[in-house]
Amino acid sequence: MVLSFDATLADRDFDVSFELADGETLAVLGPNGAGKSTLLDLLAGLLAPTGGRAALDGSVLFDVGPGRRVLTEPRGRGVSLLAQEALLFPHLSVLENVAFGPRSRGVHRTTARVTALHWLERAGIGDLAGRRPAHLSGGQAQRVAVARALAAGPSLLLLDEPLAALDVSVAPAIRTLLRDVLAERSAIIVTHDPLDAFLLADRVLILDGGRVVESGRTGEVLTRPLTAFGARLAGLNLVPGRRTTSGFVGVNGLHVPLGPPVAQGTDLGLAVRPAQVAVTLQAGLAPGTSCIRAAVDDVEHRGDVVRVHAAGMAADMAPIDVVTLDVVAGAQVFLTIRHADVAVYPVNRPSLPGPVPGAPLTGDRVDP
């Protein structure tokens, strides 16, 4: 393992610990104020913890506790930070910006420039070396920032929503660049976008209120979320429920027959994409499907689809169907899912969330 991290920060109610393997990229997700930036600042040395210990490649970043207080200066940590804004030094040329890291570590000017040019080429902008930051577009500036962060030769790269400030038309190209450069190195990326997590990270850490609420392999966490927040982030419906003799029974009454392996009484979660939840006025009775009756709570227009909320689940419908079926708040509908589209899995991992807030706990169950 390359990084171990365990820190508390009393006045921000922050208490997080995790580990990161060599060459691994960790995505940190969470709502605003969850402590994502605090995590990065603690690692970069811009903030001191009230307690805890972190070590990178065996060297201590901080070690604070009763009777001990070790805080390595930012420069000595081998940690580079790439922020939402490029923050290029406006008085230095692109090349000088990128050469800043090597120069600061005592590398000779000529060598530093070679290194800088190498990383600029790698970021696909070798031709911009002589420019001033003021004469760069947002995407170009962020490419320079990436090159600058990497040219410093960090053991750990921290990325704080590196795509958030970019134009949607530019973000994909930078994401591709990041994917390329993150492949072989240890990195932590704070993001709002599960797509970033999927494309860039091996593992995911979900923070809420200064605590880790979920963590695991990216595919695992984002296809089998344990928390309502994790599910929302992954764009999934999460129906909490229990194992009964006949299979899965959700808190909203949804029933899915299951095979024998899981013991009765186990807490389970059911994940399904909103697009795979069908809304009908008649109960669907096709084999391999499950169906519940529910009252529509809310109808939400989302561009080319309409999202219908009922029984603690979301279902996406084509607008024309909404009109045809006259789906409005309060209407009685049937929600149907195909068993092939759902994932049912134990959720008694770290902390089991309660029922989704506002979800009705009853619904008419219709077995296939």
């Binding site: 940590r77 930070l81 008085h91 800043f100 577009s137 995407g139 921290l158 134009d167 530019v170």
Partner: protein, 278 residues
């Protein structure tokens, strides 16, 4: 000129206010005895005063930069108990009548002053020396530098410095290669203002340093003295000071746009060029 957005009387009052500031200077220029102007401003005493003024003001500005930059850094980048009080005290010479500053300096560095008596014992005599002039000027000019530099430091923020530190730069490197270049426009305009203030210093110099041609009699003191016997010379020399002041203000204005650039780069997201021809 587009005045549509303002009530006319506001513009009228503004014009009157502008005239109030400019007319006295025009009136003074009208009083200049032009045929005698060159001899008046190149007389031995005038030249001695002008050279002394430039020399001392430059020295005072240098003192302000050497002392004021660390002061501004401490005020802008650290926090400690009583910081607000310290800041108010630093700004005090701005609002203090210069004579009061001179008296205060006298009781500190004068022969019988708080520190002056020790200096005297060491054989260092500050009063009546050019050093005293520089000290008087630095005393009244220092707040200008500290104030404008602290403002620049605050508006630039600490984010670039944080980036520099994570890239491996030590504190001194961050200060030298990031912080100071970023606030350079603020530093230059602060230094220019300090220079202007030092050049105009009168009260504290008169009280603390005395008035002797070539040693302590700076241009403002010379003007004040010439008024007694030769008002024409006083007017001519005043005009020289006005011209120098205008030049200084011009320089200070010239560095402003740079100032704004640094602030923009650091602060609110500015409009970026569209993703270019890559």
């Amino acid at each position: 000129m587009n005045t549509a957005a303002l009530p006319r009387w506001v513009v009228a009052v503004a014009v009157v206010g502008g005239l109030f500031l400019v007319l006295p200077l025009v009136a003074m220029a009208l009083r200049v005895d032009w045929p005698r102007f060159v001899p008046l401003v190149t007389s031995d005493s005038a030249r001695a005063a002008l050279l002394l003024s430039l020399r001392t003001s430059l020295s005072a500005t240098a003192v302000c930069v050497v002392v004021g930059v660390p002061m501004a850094l401490v005020l802008a980048r650290t926090s400690f108990r009583g910081q607000r009080l310290v800041r108010s005290l630093v700004l005090l010479p701005l609002v203090l009548p210069p004579v009061v500053g001179g008296i205060a300096l006298l009781y500190t560095f004068g022969r019988r002053g708080l520190l002056g008596s020790s200096f005297s014992a060491l054989g260092i005599d500050i009063a009546f020396s050019t050093t005293a002039v520089v000290m008087s000027q630095a005393f009244v000019a220092l707040p200008f530098l500290v104030l404008s530099l602290e403002g620049a430091l605050r508006s630039v923020g600490t984010r670039y410095e944080a980036v520099g530190a994570t890239l491996g730069a030590g504190r001194w490197t961050v200060l030298r290669r990031i912080t100071l270049p970023l606030v350079l426009p603020g530093l230059v305009s602060g230094a220019v203002l300090s220079f202007a203030r030092a050049l105009g210093e009168f009260g504290a110099t008169l009280t603390f340093a005395g008035s002797l041609e070539g040693t302590t009699r700076t241009l403002p003191l010379e003007i004040y003295l010439q008024r007694e016997t030769d008002p024409d010379a006083a007017v001519a020399l005043s005009l020289i000071l006005v011209v120098v002041a205008i030049a200084v203000v011009g320089v200070a204005h010239r560095v402003r746009p740079l100032d704004r650039l640094a602030v923009t780069a650091a602060g609110t997201p500015r409009r970026r060029a569209p993703e270019a021809v890559r």
